[in-house]
């Protein structure tokens, strides 16, 4: 009989219909949460920043994501300044 050991899947490898089940398998203790953030940080870092011929793209993607995030947060105040009425 073959013993099947569940391997930890990364977020990018999970299919969308399996997402709730994947979230339940995650570790929600403080230490586990911190480890998850660290994993994410180092995954991004090793792929885009910590390379032999890294360019400014790695940091620029973070800045672009920051701009988008701040836009979403301040969308409510910006809605008053729309140039067109139903846009």
């Amino acid at each position: 009989m073959v013993l099947v050991v569940p391997v930890e899947k990364k977020l990018m490898d999970v299919k969308i219909k399996d997402l709730p089940n994947w979230i339940l398998t995650q570790d929600f203790t403080p230490k586990g949460t911190i480890r998850a953030f660290q994993r994410g940080y180092y995954q991004y870092d090793n792929k885009y920043v910590n390379t032999n011929k890294g360019s400014t793209l790695g940091v620029s993607m973070v800045l672009a994501a920051d701009v988008l995030f701040n836009y979403c947060v301040s969308y409510k105040e910006l809605k008053h300044e729309q140039l067109r009425k139903n846009h």
Binding site: Y41, D45, V49, N50, T51, N52, K53, G54, S55, G58, V59, V62, L63, D66, V67, N70, Y71, V73, S74, E77, L78, H80, E81
Partner: protein, 226 residues
């Protein structure tokens, strides 16, 4: 109109939770820690810049004052990176909040004064009186120097807040003017756009300069007191 002007300076709230702490922590993830002797390009450039600024800041001090080098270098990096990140569109700059700048200025200034009073009491008290004053002016001058000493932290904080806030506000106003003028008179809009470009370049410079000035003044107070 009034509410729109100062809306970018209100603390950002997402789903009812203030996320100011996250925004203050953000610049730190842009400075990875060096793990090796020879690192990748990002870290190498940051190391070179940090070494350049630290040497510039700290070579005026004696070894006692140079124990503050970690504090002052990290202060400079924090203020510079926070100000520069505030130049991105829609972003929130924590240094526009007076509360944060006073929170940075008062402990640092108090630290320098306490170091001076503790280690060289006579010298730091003697700084209260400039050399060569006429005798009858001494009481008044001591009072004036004491007041100027106590104003130092507030000046540090208010200088940083006012510079960054005024710059952001100017850019908002001129940008709105340019946008409104494009439908009325495109030539004037072009002129205001050029003004906006120049102002943006100035703001990038101001972001860095303010960081430098803040740190320089703290180091100056340190120099007097070590």
């Amino acid at each position: 109109m009034n509410e729109n002007l100062f809306a970018p300076f209100m603390t950002p709230v997402m789903l009812g939770i203030p996320i100011t702490t996250l925004i203050i922590i953000l610049p730190s993830i842009l400075f990875p820690t060096p793990n090796r002797l020879v690192n990748n390009r990002t870290i190498s450039i940051q190391q070179w810049l940090t070494k350049l600024t630290s040497k510039q800041l700290m070579n005026v001090h004696n070894p006692k004052g140079q124990t503050w080098s970690l504090m002052l270098t990290s202060l400079f990096l924090f203020i510079a990176s926070t100000n520069l990140l505030g130049m991105l569109p829609h972003s929130f700059t924590p240094t526009t909040q007076l509360s944060m700048n006073v929170g940075m200025a008062i402990p640092l200034w108090a630290g320098t004064v306490a170091t001076g009073l503790r280690n060289k009491t006579k010298m730091s008290l003697a700084h209260l009186l400039p050399q060569g004053t006429p005798t009858f002016l001494i009481p008044m001058l001591v009072i004036i120097e004491t007041i100027s000493l106590f104003i130092q932290p507030m000046a540090l904080a208010v200088r940083l807040t006012a510079n960054i806030t005024a710059g952001h506000l100017l850019m908002h106003l001129i940008g709105e003017t340019t946008l409104v003028l494009t439908s009325i008179s495109p030539f004037t809009a072009l002129i205001t756009f050029i003004i906006l470009t120049l102002l943006t370049i100035l703001e990038f410079a101001v972001a860095l300069i303010q960081a430098y000035v803040f740190t320089l003044l703290v180091s100056l107070y340190l120099h007097d007191n070590t």
